[in-house]
Symmetry: C4
Subunit: 342 residues, 4 copies
């Protein structure tokens, strides 16, 4: 009933619960100072935080980032709570890696979320590196199908794999296989990191592979290198050594700006409130993902997740108001809202 | 006898007394280094700190910033102490929001300050956003008349309103209404923030509305977002999240410099001594407001307020002396007095 | 036997002893990084730290800065110890303000130091502002004569005077009077600050007054504003407010560089070891003064002062060695020795 | 059996053991941010960390830096453990100063390491300054011969000598003598510092003397100035004063870049893990030395040293993987891998 891949997800959650420093609290967004409008010439109530993503209209540019899935009661509860909250708040949701489905078929249940979230974007998730370890079109289709997904995230996690004693570290020739898979599937494939950031070279390879949407998933928030460190039995401290490796999310966003005309950028990694989200959109993000901040509420109830998301939405709307920005179109990639100190 | 608006002012004062962190202590002026003149070629006693404001000659460019008013013994005492001190020190004084007059007529008494301060500028105060909630010419005239005011401050406080559960957050179309009101009144209308700063876009809108004087009231000192947080009964931490939002006062002053030829700039927000005032004038301020530092003395006596103001004046004069600056005209917007480290 | 001016000097010393923060420990020189020569191509023993000042050949560019004088046993002992050490170490020495001689004639004794220091430069000291309070040629000549001085320091201390309740704060028209006095005396007049720095404007005025040598005496070390604070009986904190006012010594040196072709620059204020001295010479100083670090040894014995100076000389020589610099001429104003980080 | 030079080495080791601050922990490499490749297009297992040095193929660009030698059981054990580990890990090794051989012939034993390390580069070591104190061709040849060395390090340590009471501080005319010696020997001569960095002027002199390989040995790690301080019997604090003197290793590497076409650069001084090594190679180093981190394991066993080196190699390989760099040729001096924050 349980296998290595299935157990792993519970171990991850335990590591996060026990060690608050798995959230690196880089607060990199704090270094960006926004302007303020004393005369916003707006009614706070009239501000339209809505935006489009994958053909849906969202209440605001929020994504519940990929977290979990597997054959455990806790995990099923987490995913249902998240899905229900996504629906009630009208935001997007991505699931955690679905690879577990192929070793533990009972895990499928945890991804059957469409009934709880009929009218929001749901995004599947597989590790891109698995394309070098047996995963191909058939499994990708299965992953999409169980979730009735609108898109499929392929996550890139070379650091997470490298710090595991037996990680899947053959990342050779992946771009070609991603290209092939993307062309075979009926839904769009999105590329993401898991906390070290996509660099311009990664985005260019992705564009050449036909990918149109990228989640930078930079550093500053959840550190997979540190989480995996806790799972090691030996004395290696490799995971600690690399715990802050990578591109801070705001930096990754800035470095991705040249690609805004050809790609949709998603921000994630260390976003912690609606102000971080507003800054991300100003730097070119169309959608903003959060994972760790929603984990604890998700272990509790859908209500708790809804409360957290509504809180963030209020912050987001308040910041738009104080910037004098009536809608997402005006906020998006609007550098005039950033104040350079002199 | 008491209503919501009237009680509020007492709650504000209590929040400030209980929580020293409502003064954000940004010390943003400390980052500016002034030159020093070992040979000032001046007699300290000859330095003329005097300046003109609203047709009055002040002993130095000090304004007791808008604080309070209402139907409470404490509040009346505060205002009388401030007014008496303003007169004795020959500095300007602004009162707190006079809106309370329209819901609690007994509050008027607290604004009848002309007898205590016959020969200094007195400035009335109303929230600009109230122009969207029923306030118009008649009330503005009443506010001016009870104070026998020389001018009327309209304060812009979108953040303070936004962090209140039922704040007045319709800031739409205000510029037009400000323009209309300004053209109808007999005394000049001044625009101010309350601790988040006016940005260039705000000043431009204000100029188009016929306003000639702006109080940037930037961040670094009293945080209304944090004060309002203490008044909330629910669990929201919105007020804390935004407690440092806005433009630091020195930055707001620098950003306002392009408008010095067409506007009079007042500095406030986090000024804490005569050195901060000197720096503000160097950055283009014609008048320097302080609120929080005068609150405690004002609860005590006019003497205590006078002592505080005289202390600040000595600091101001000393700094002018050490800069070799004989008068306000030479100090004003004189960037040569700032030393850039290299 | 004792008067106000005479007592004052003892009070200063007590304030310094009781409050270690009168030395502001700015460590401003630490921000300058020097290069290193692994192959200096020098014999440490061959390095020539000698330099010329006021017609004397010094063992290295050290000046015992102006400190004290007066009719007290302790003060006489301090001055004799300093003078004896200056002679034994072959460095220059300046005495503290000699104004006390004119109110307490017994104080003269403390300045009769030539017998202890026959072969090094001795520099007299008077407050320039006293030229507005009765001091003129006759007194200056008396001051020079009792010390058999090679030069006379006029110190500029507008801050120190301004923070005293009854300070001599008429600094008007001083440049003209300095010019007159300088032309009348047989020895050169040097201008110095006492811890707030000379600015370019001061040096230019000085040059116009015929002065050729300037001691910048910047901030970072002894704070007279703080020392005078301790002497106040009232509740004013003016002295604390201004305790860090002024130009940090390295900054004052950099700002003085345009005048190196027409003036000799002395560095003082916060120099604490031979490395600070080397940096000062690199920034254009011909002589480096220290006061506070020598006070405690001077209260003990000439031996203690000699030990301290020899320690500093060793540091100075070691730094020259590690920079591959054989002599003062090569060190002086040699910016190539500074490494800009990139 | 024991003399001053022989005892000294034991005293050094004791000072390092007792005072952890002899490692200055500058962490200067932390200021360099590297990019990240989410899509490295590499198999971690395929990465080739190998490089050539002195005609050998090394498993990765690691050098066990010069540490010790002498007639002591502990010291012999250290050197054998290091040599055995160098062989097993296939990395280069340098020995500590061999001067002790000439005063204590029994010390030779400690340098007879070729049998333990038959197939890796072994580098002898002498202080360059000894060329002014009697050392010449014959001794250099003896040093090379006992070690069967592939090269000879001449170390430059003007600071270490200067802070010793009776240090050998005649560094005059060394370049010429180095040139002569280098031309006479059968193996190449390498120049190194011991923790204060080589500057461009040093490298230029070295090039003119026919040297082709330079170990910058900058500051940030082991401070010889501080170690020698502990050996002083008098009260001087000269060694503490200069403990952080010199060029931080990354800065020294950057300053050496103009010479990359004519010289081979070795990095050492404060490197503490495989990430520091990767950064060093990016800045132009062909080999990366570490001393202090290997001392404690070397006192234990060859196994302990091997474990430490393997750990570092894993970090090195992991960083190459995450940069998408397949081999040393691609890593070397590749500035595109550095991210400048904006
Ligand atoms: C508990 C947890 C589980 C995660 N699992 C996955 C996963 O299975 N697949 C994936 O692509 N990302 C996963 N992530 C990474 C996030 O989706 C996202 O990329 C990362 O940037 C979240 O940042 P944050 O936690 O700092 O908000 C996980 C994150 C957390 C906190
Ligand atoms: C107790 C208190 C009450 C205030 N009330 C008002 C007010 O009614 N109207 C207004 O325009 N500003 C009000 N302010 C804001 C100040 O007038 C000013 O704009 C602000 O920048 C003061 O900064 P400071 O307290 O940091 O000196 C108040 C400030 C304080 C401390
Ligand atoms: C105890 C003491 C007394 C001083 N007295 C005088 C003085 O009488 N006249 C003067 O020109 N400077 C006086 N100074 C200032 C120093 O001469 C010098 O200008 C100042 O920069 C010393 O810096 P340092 O103490 O940081 O080394 C005195 C300093 C000290 C510490
Ligand atoms: C215990 C010890 C002994 C050393 N002995 C020598 C030596 O004899 N000759 C030499 O050239 N360098 C010697 N060094 C310096 C190192 O070889 C190297 O140059 C220095 O940069 C090492 O830096 P690290 O300890 O910070 O890694 C020694 C270093 C240590 C820690």
């Amino acid at each position: 009933m349980s296998d290595l891949t299935n157990d792993r997800k519970i171990e991850h959650i335990q590591a996060i619960e026990k060690d608050p420093q798995t959230d690196r609290s880089g607060h990199y967004f704090d270094r960006i100072r926004l302007s303020h409008r004393a005369l916003p010439e707006l009614n706070l109530g009239d501000i339209d935080t809505g935006c489009d993503f994958l053909g849906y209209r969202l209440s605001f540019p929020m994504l519940i980032s990929s977290m979990t899935g597997g054959d455990h009661e806790l995990i099923k509860r987490i995913n249902r709570n998240l899905a229900e909250a996504a629906e009630r708040c009208n935001v997007a949701m991505a699931v955690g890696s679905q690879r577990v489905m192929f070793t533990t078929p009972e895990a499928k249940e945890s991804f059957r979320l469409r009934e709880f979230a009929p009218s929001v974007p749901l995004i599947g998730n597989l590790g891109a590196v698995q394309l070098n370890y047996g995963i191909e079109k058939a499994q990708a289709e299965a992953a999409i199908s169980v979730l009735e997904a609108d898109a499929l995230y392929l996550h890139l996690n070379p650091l997470q794999e490298a710090v595991q004693p037996e990680g899947d570290t053959d990342f050779s020739g992946l771009a070609e296989k991603i290209k092939k898979l993307a062309s075979e599937l009926d839904v769009p494939v999105l590329l993401k990191e898991v906390g070290s950031g996509l660099s311009p070279a990664d985005i260019e390879l992705g564009l050449q592979s036909g990918i149109k949407c990228f989640d930078v998933a930079g550093s500053g928030g959840t550190s997979w290198s540190r989480i995996e460190h806790h799972r090691r039995k030996d004395s290696s401290d490799l995971g600690l050594k690399f715990q802050d490796w990578g591109l801070p999310t705001p930096l990754a966003l800035k470095m991705a700006e040249p690609y805004l005309s050809s790609a949709t950028i998603v921000a994630s990694g260390g976003l912690r409130d609606g102000i971080d989200m507003v800054k991300s959109v100003i730097l070119g993000a169309s959608l903003c993902g959060m994972a760790a901040p929603l984990l604890k509420p998700a272990m509790e109830s859908a209500d708790a997740v809804v409360a957290e998301i509504e809180k963030i939405k209020t912050e987001f709307r308040t910041a738009m108001f104080l910037l004098g920005v009536p809608d997402m179109r005006t906020l998006y990639n609007n550098h005039a809202l950033i104040v350079e100190e002199c």
